[in-house]
Symmetry: D2
Subunit: 246 residues, 4 copies
């Protein structure tokens, strides 16, 4: 692959012709015009089994490749090649579709490499998310994906989240523009970090214990000053309150 960034679109809706997937396609098309290679994956075409939670028994047992022998194997490899993911979900009961939840749970095998070799294999990739439904819950659905994937090491650029509960979002120019900006902003960020070669998480922060000790000393000093004041108020209150009860 050349120097271009590679953006993977993940469709969590069973309806490849529906609004969720349409907005995702707009984002991917714009990404392509911004210079990215793109690919669209319909999760419903894959057999994705539920996570077995191995790490609750042995932390290091959860690793790439996952114990479960199913279609995630192919998906892991696509994800590892990608510089960015744009995940689109229908809104099912104020959350992502069940198959997408299985997909997210199974990404743990890449994230948990932290415990195997010190670094999440998803660190520094870029995230875009699109959530579409006929009913409420779009922010909940976005929120779930964003928090989970940011905690796995992904970057969330500005305007990379789009959601709607309108019946015909493509007839709303503003909504189309939002989906387009998801594609645009994910690519801008992916290019920015690709060239910078950043190592984000550091286990080796200089003088961290010295910093911690200074912060604790300062906090203690504040504590003496502020807390005496607060305890006086609280204690007085407790006294008054007991007297009221008597």
């Amino acid at each position: 692959m050349d120097n271009a960034v590679y953006i993977l679109g993940i469709n969590g809706s069973p309806r490849s012709y529906g609004n969720t997937c349409r907005l995702l396609r707009i984002a991917l098309e714009v990404a392509k015009r911004e210079g990215a290679h793109t690919k669209l994956i319909n999760l419903y075409d894959y057999d994705i089994k539920p996570c077995l939670g191995c790490l609750a028994d042995i932390q290091e047992a959860c690793r790439y490749p996952c114990v479960i022998d199913d279609d995630m194997k192919q998906l892991y490899d696509e994800i590892l090649k990608a510089d960015g993911l744009i995940i689109a979900t229908p809104i099912y009961w104020f959350g992502v579709s069940g198959i997408l939840k299985n997909f997210i749970d199974r990404l743990t095998a890449l994230e948990n490499m932290i415990f195997v070799e010190g670094r999440s294999w998803l660190e520094g990739k870029v995230l875009g998310v699109i959530a579409v439904g006929n009913d409420s819950g779009d922010i909940e659905a976005l929120s779930h994906i964003v928090l989970a994937l940011n905690f796995m090491g992904l970057i969330v650029p500005p305007w990379s989240l789009a959601c709607t509960t309108e019946r015909n979002p493509l007839s709303n120019e503003n909504m189309v523009l939002e989906a387009a900006n998801v594609g645009r902003c994910v690519v801008i960020m992916a290019k920015l970090v690709k060239n910078a070669g950043i190592c984000w998480y550091s286990k080796d922060i200089k003088e961290l214990s010295k910093i911690k000790n200074r912060v604790m000393t300062e906090a203690e000093r504040d504590f003496q000053r502020v807390r005496d004041e607060r305890l006086k108020i609280i204690t007085k209150l407790l006294k008054d309150s007991y007297e009221t009860l008597e």
Copy 2:
């Protein structure tokens, strides 16, 4: 101010000596050593009135400076100067403290500049968040801040969110390291975007209506192919089901 980035720490806890603020101080101290200027603001030292929701009456009425004459005036100016915000909150009922919610609601005056002059005044700033409590709800609290501020235009780098419900988080080396990485990653990202001079949101995506039309055509084609299949299944079911009821 020189070329260094400026990171503003916002403490939403009433206890400046508590764990929320301690972890925030660690993040800021690390940010400083990464070359940033920093400043810590205790929200409880400011009078922040509740948002009046002006934009529900007149969209463009919500703008900088906000109608309400209180201490947010000073805070707006600090925020506008900052390249990054690290917001720390105690966990109050599975969410942010009320004063921090007022602060977030009042940031609308900067975000809503979208409707006044086409761009959020918060676009491209970098976000870190720390949530600390003695009880559950840390992810809910983080989630609220992250979604709101990303939708205002902020960037969320990897490892820039830290949370805990432990009694003594500073005695847990891992937790201290997480707070440190919040400071580190916010600064790395702030430097990266500061020099790049990016204009994130674009109202002017080339050939967007052409893209939209192509996507709709493709979706229609899929629709014919897939939906016939689906309708057949659904219709059969409905028929069977009516027969069952008879």
Copy 3:
């Protein structure tokens, strides 16, 4: 079945020996001693396929029995017999396990009977939830289940939600007590409503359009009084603000 209430325990964890299922068993055991019949179902023993979202194509196509021919058929029948559900989930990425999300999505076939025959088949059943993890996100997980199932028509009694992120929750007496109270409170409520024979949702609220009109008239009156005041402030601000910009 006699007059006793029937409480169904749903275990969404793959580890039937783990803490999630242990706390669920405590809740069920207490329910039994409060006079309920109980049954425990391990979702991982069932094949539960992802929802196909039929209702996005045809609202009435989503109904009991669901189009998909899998093990949900048996589960639907157990649920229909139950007066209460106690759902237990491990915390996977700040949410429920993927299999449990599939289970929840598939409950739509019972809830959507609203559109088929005017009433959710889940209305008036009682809900308890237990969420257990080694990491943050317990409230998010609870929250997802509670909102979805309450919107399907279930009742949420006091103290019927329990969650923890402790390593050994069973060694914490308080936590054991919380799980026990989930069982207790679900049974108390189930008995209360079983005998009352309540029809909750009513399409036929007396004089509703009259009520609506009165409320609108009152609101208009308030609007004149309050909004003039608000517009004056906002308009003044806009004027000042334009002058500032000049």
Copy 4:
């Protein structure tokens, strides 16, 4: 007060003429016709200061009456008299308004009576919630209120949550019906529990340690059976995986 239930409406919107408050008024009006006494409180008419988090210093310091001397004093007394609360909020950044968050945080003084005298003073009251906005986030806002108040001891009946992001919800008959059912269902439940005189939380569950021990024994048995199997799979995988790396 006679035998009728008393339902308190809490309006968290600054616009008493707006849609949030209109839907709340419909709910209260229906509640009245179901036989309840009702009262509407506009939070913006009250001075509600942010919670000081006293309980983080001394658990028992947080109690009724709260240390802070402001208008919550009056509100506490209204709440204590009420059998049910219907809380209405505008959607501010995917959550409740800041003043309503302050209100919720300050309810801790009633809930924390658990630590003072063994019982939440909010236990067994009934909750209804209405969330209205022009933008996404209604479920998030509902969710925040529901989780917090259910954990304080309130009951959530079916159809007692209503939300919308429509511009003119009152012109949608279905939405008006939903608001009406909030009023109806809160009253039905309030009557049901008022007469039943239930003590929900029990510290004294019979033979709880015996139950716990039995559950642990059973889990251990399962553990031997299932976990051996699982460990075998995981260990094999780890072995294969190491060999792959070599």
